[in-house]
């Protein structure tokens, strides 16, 4: 996949199409809301939900928290592939952060601690 293309997750629930992705706005908002990017694995209770909710900021910021809760229940808690989805989201967020740090200096390396 082209590095310049953002990774996205697309799904449809009750006839509504959703596209989850992280942009600069998402990363910034999540950081301001207190999301800890360095200790995602330690925070296994809240981090998956925060990741899921944060992925709505880019394209579906109008979706209320109650609806996000419901979708989270459907796609993560009640789904066998839920853990994979969370891992994909973590990977997407890592990709976005790596891309941000790579520009424009291009020689800074970044690794998730």
């Amino acid at each position: 996949m082209d590095k310049r293309e953002r990774k996205k997750i697309k799904f449809s629930v009750d006839g509504v199409d959703y596209t989850l992705e992280y942009t600069v706005a998402s990363v910034r908002k999540m950081e301001r809301d207190g999301f800890n990017f360095n200790k995602m694995e330690d925070n296994i209770v809240n981090a998956p939900y925060d990741l899921f909710s944060g992925a709505f900021i880019a394209r579906h910021n109008y979706v209320p928290a109650t609806e996000r809760d419901r979708l989270y229940e459907l796609l993560v808690n009640e789904n066998e592939e839920g853990q994979n989805l969370v891992e994909c989201l973590a990977d997407m967020l890592k990709d976005e952060l790596e891309w941000i740090v790579s520009k424009p200096s291009g020689n800074v390396t970044w690794a998730m601690a």
């Binding site: 310049r4 600069v24 910034r28 950081e31 301001r32 424009p104 800074v108 970044w110």
Partner: protein
């Protein structure tokens, strides 16, 4: 960037790496940098990654253009000063070097136009000499 002032090099990028900046501060600076090189806030926040590459390249071109224009400005200043000094210190009864009536030719078209002007000037001079002879 009409005033030719370009943002400082993003040396703060290393700030986050050595923990002198928090991620939030780093992101603030990052966004401000891209807004300084001409992106809108919406483009920075939700824009495609291609747009960032384009703005980076445009910024580099602008930097080169500005550098060339400053260099040319320096050359004009040098010529103007030389002409002024040559007039001021010219021998009595002699004129100093006049300031060039036309700008310095930079493109091929401008160079050809200058060549044409020079030929016309020479022909005029020859005609004048013939008339006086």
């Amino acid at each position: 960037m009409g005033d030719g002032v370009t943002p400082p090099p993003p040396n703060y990028y290393n700030g986050w790496q050595d923990n002198s900046l928090s991620l939030g501060q780093f992101l603030d600076e990052w966004c401000a940098y891209y807004m300084a090189i001409g992106m809108t806030r919406n483009e920075v926040m939700n824009g495609e990654r291609d747009a960032f590459d384009d703005y980076d390249r445009a910024h580099e071109y602008r930097r080169v253009q500005n550098n060339q224009s400053y260099h040319l400005e320096g050359l004009y200043n040098y010529i103007a000063l030389s002409c002024a000094l040559s007039s001021a210190f010219a021998e009595k009864g002699k004129k100093g070097t006049p300031y060039p009536p036309y700008p310095i030719p930079l493109t091929q078209t401008e160079r050809e136009a200058e060549k044409k002007r020079n030929i016309e000037k020479t022909l005029e001079w020859v005609k004048k000499r013939k008339r006086n002879a």
